[in-house]
């Protein structure tokens, strides 16, 4: 038990480092040194992998775990990735997904929006894109390993202050309105993923959820929409001690040793697949360039 806790504390530190690194660059500079040391320790497997390829980590629910099925799933995920390049993106990134539909044969649909959530793991992994089109909020859930999904483009790689952005549904529409023909913003490879510190203005009540109880960081002055009653009830139901509950954290996450095992299993194949995709993309880009110029 003590060992588990110690391991957990170590892991917590890693998470902390990671969290700091997710801050805007000026704040995160101090932790860079520490991160480098950690990187060296964990040899070739980057600690970033748990965020980059989060769907490769299995469901931490002990009841549902089975090593054989997880290995089969990983194998199938990799073989699907040979056909489609699934780039690194996070909740808060602006992503465009192109898919085909049996009801519109010979065509593809491209939908661009902000990723408000990434759910589940393994082959069931999916993400939700949100945009406002013609004053109408649209959300589409895409399955990551669906073979009808043609392409995933990351238009703007960034993070937001929260893990889930469902509150955009109750925010003013300008926060989830994006131009469908947005130009992709490229970030130099290897650089840290920027965190957008944007704070969102919510519409007045009624809301879809009780946002005041969720300790949201990305919402501007939520108090202006609340009565005393709301504040009191929120304070009543707050669970500030939960962040110290190591066992809860342990049950919700995959232990670090297991993560390393998983990523070392897929590392070489994943690298090979990604390199191939990048090569193909470069080749395509060089062909398309003269057309844009003309």
């Amino acid at each position: 038990m003590i060992r588990v806790l110690q391991r957990q504390i170590n892991r917590k530190q890693n998470v902390l480092v990671r969290y700091l690194s997710a801050q805007p660059e000026s704040e995160a500079k101090e932790s860079n040194v520490e991160q480098k040391i950690l990187k060296k320790k964990s040899s070739f497997i980057s600690p970033e992998y748990r965020f980059q390829y989060q769907e490769f980590l299995p469901d931490p629910q002990h009841r549902l775990r089975n090593s054989v099925r997880e290995a089969l799933e990983r194998k199938d995920m990799l073989s699907r990735r040979t056909q489609i390049y699934i780039p690194e993106f996070y909740v808060g990134s602006i992503v465009a997904a192109t898919s085909s539909d049996p009801h519109s044969q010979g065509k593809t649909n491209r939908f661009l929006g902000i990723c408000i959530d990434r759910e589940r793991c393994g082959l069931k992994a999916n993400f939700i894109l949100r945009n406002v089109i013609d004053h109408q909020g649209i959300e589409i859930k895409f399955e990551m390993y669906d073979p009808t999904l043609q392409k995933i483009e990351v238009i703007k790689l960034e993070k937001r202050l929260d893990e889930k952005l469902y509150y955009l549904r109750d925010a003013l529409p300008e926060y989830s309105t994006f131009d469908l023909n947005m130009e992709p913003e490229l970030i130099p490879e290897g650089s840290q993923v920027p965190v957008n510190p944007l704070k969102v203005q919510l519409k007045p009540r009624p809301w879809l959820e009780r946002w005041e109880r969720q300790e949201l960081k990305g919402v501007e002055d939520i108090n202006q929409h609340l009565y005393d009653k709301h504040r009191r009830l929120a304070a009543m139901r707050a669970t500030p001690w939960e962040k110290y509950d190591l066992m809860k954290e342990y049950r919700k996450s995959i232990p670090e040793e297991e993560q390393k095992k998983i990523f070392s299993e897929i590392f070489s194949r994943m690298k090979q697949i990604n390199d191939e995709h990048k090569k193909n993309m470069k080749a395509k880009r060089s062909i398309t360039k003269p057309k844009t110029l003309a």
Partner: protein, 550 residues
């Protein structure tokens, strides 16, 4: 005065004593007589030195009848000659005769006893040439009696034939009294039960062999042994532990992971047994099932872009442990007869374990097959043609892609649950003045009949029951991990729970073309690692794009 008193006392005491003696002796005689009556009579019969074993039960209700048909007399018992002594079957009575086995000619008449009777009718039963278990009525003869005529003297004696092995073979409706029953072709194990269903003037007394019923005894299957010798292995020193390990590894080889399961190198190959002669598959033959583990849900996509939900079953290191042929297979619980008659049984084990923890009895089960002792055992009822040599490993290739299977398992134990969870009731409103009745069932009966009807849906224990999910399609097979992708999420049990996979019994999804019979015997290495159904999109295939129709 005193002397007189003494004499009186002596006489009185003596009288009491004598009376007691007489009473006790008469009681003794009575019981002896009763005992004598109970003992079945023995008499050798001269005809072909064969013995007829018969038992007459008259005026029995259906239960008594069943009791008698279940009873098989012991071979030492001899037939009884006084069967018709106290009476005879009167007119207008329905007589049924049950013949268990007829193999030898035998004639039995009872002319002496019935000489006083006024009628002389005979029923002649004869053994069938083709089926010795059946007898048919050959002739029914009537001779005109000298005394008063029967009720319908002109009507010929009618009879209804009802032939069925082991049950009542002949049913005769007798309109005239019967005195003689002549059985032609009887045998040592012949038994006739005569039952008169019409409760008219019947005078034949019951003759019983025993006063008690043969209660069915609890008889466990031969493989029901205590499995584990101890919960833990004793506190052995490290050297001893190593020594024990070495012994097991010497016999069964070193532990290896084969097809996703931890087993031992020689778990199945201790005996090099040959395969049985192959039998050609035909409709109606039943193959063995397999023991598997449900390992989780898995999405698959079809080539038309549709997503299907499947559940993965891993066939858990299966070996044939024992074959029990039909005549030895005698289960305690006989379910529908059609499923059991002529069927054999195959005992299959799965997941090899360290034998150090097991009892000697349990290990003895595996001795003949040469299979390493396994954690799980299950019997599968098969046709004798589908027998497999003990020691043979069974794999997922026993099934094919596109086949339908039934999966049996124990549902998740949810404990005591209310009606909302257990039966999906709606519950009652959360507010609007409702107090204390938010998840309750509401009324459970009442009205004209003041009672709760049996089977009413109520709170109670939910789950932990054997259930079968039928007719599930196999979409994909992985030969390297022995896994089956089976349609749906409705399979009973939790992830990592044991399930039993059978060929389906649903009539429209049964095999049309011959499956691997009795199991897959080809070389598994020649098969591809992943076998997909033709409709399934392989993950390594290019992205689906719907071309416009021309």
């Amino acid at each position: 005065m005193e002397i007189q008193l003494q004499i009186y006392i002596i006489i009185g005491v003596g009288g009491i004593l004598i009376a007691g003696l007489i009473l006790s002796s008469s009681l003794l005689c009575y019981y002896l007589w009763k005992l004598y009556k109970k003992v079945p009579y023995e008499r050798s019969l001269d005809d072909n030195n064969s013995i007829l074993r018969r038992n007459i039960a008259m005026n029995l209700d259906s239960e008594l009848n069943r009791r008698y048909t279940q009873y098989t007399p012991e071979p030492t018992m001899k037939p009884e000659s006084k069967i018709f002594h106290k009476g005879s079957i009167k007119s207008n009575s329905n007589v049924r005769a049950s013949v268990i086995d007829v193999s030898d000619e035998f004639r039995y008449r009872q002319n002496d006893r019935t000489s006083s009777s006024q009628f002389n009718n005979n029923i002649v039963l004869k053994q069938n040439d083709t089926n010795p278990h059946e007898a048919s009525i050959e002739e029914v003869t009537t001779s005109q009696p000298s005394g008063p005529l029967p009720i319908h003297p002109t009507a010929p004696p009618a009879f209804i034939a009802n032939q069925n092995y082991g049950a009542i073979t002949e049913s005769i409706y007798v309109q005239q009294p019967v005195n003689n029953i002549v059985v032609v072709g009887a045998c040592p194990v012949c038994r006739i039960v005569l039952v008169q269903s019409l409760p008219t003037d019947l005078r034949v007394t019951q003759v019983r062999f025993r006063d008690f019923m043969n209660h069915p005894r609890k008889r466990n299957p031969i493989w029901f042994f205590k499995q584990n010798r101890a919960k833990k292995v004793e506190n052995l020193t490290p050297e001893n532990k190593k020594f024990m390990e070495e012994i097991t590894h010497e016999k069964y080889g070193k532990p290896v992971i084969r097809k996703g399961f931890l087993t031992f190198e020689n778990s199945s190959s201790l005996l090099k047994s040959e395969h049985l002669a192959p039998v050609e598959w035909r409709q109606g033959l039943r193959r063995t099932g397999l023991i598997g583990r449900k390992i989780g849900h898995y999405p698959l996509w079809l080539k038309n872009g549709e997503r299907i939900d499947t559940t993965v079953i891993q066939i858990a290191d299966n070996y044939v442990v024992k074959y029990i042929p039909p005549d030895e297979f005698n289960p305690t619980q006989r379910k529908p007869l059609k499923n059991y008659t002529g069927r054999a049984c195959l005992l299959i084990g799965s997941e090899c374990v360290d034998p150090n923890k097991l009892t000697g009895n349990y290990i003895g089960l595996f001795k003949d097959s040469g299979v390493m002792p396994t954690k799980n055992l299950n019997r599968f009822i098969i046709s004798p043609e589908a027998a497999i040599m003990p020691g043979t490993p069974l794999n997922a290739t026993h099934f094919r892609v596109g086949d339908y299977v039934d999966v049996r398992g124990k549902t998740i134990d949810r404990g005591f649950q209310g009606v909302m969870k257990r039966w999906g009731f709606k519950g009652q409103p959360a507010s609007h003045g409702v107090t204390k009745t938010h998840r309750r069932p509401g009324g459970i009966g009442g009205g004209i009949k003041h009672r709760v009807w049996p089977g009413k849906k109520m709170p109670g224990h939910m789950g932990n029951r054997w259930r079968i999910a039928k007719g599930l399609k196999i979409w994909r097979i992985n030969t390297s991990t022995n896994t089956l992708w089976v349609s749906g999420h409705g399979m009973p049990g939790d992830v990592n729970g044991l399930v039993y996979v059978y060929d389906t019994v649903l009539p429209l999804r049964k095999y049309r073309d011959p499956p691997p019979f009795p199991t897959f015997t080809g070389n598994e290495n020649e098969l591809p690692e992943d076998i997909y159904h033709e409709e399934v999109h392989k993950f390594e295939d290019p992205t689906i794009f719907f071309e416009p129709e021309k």
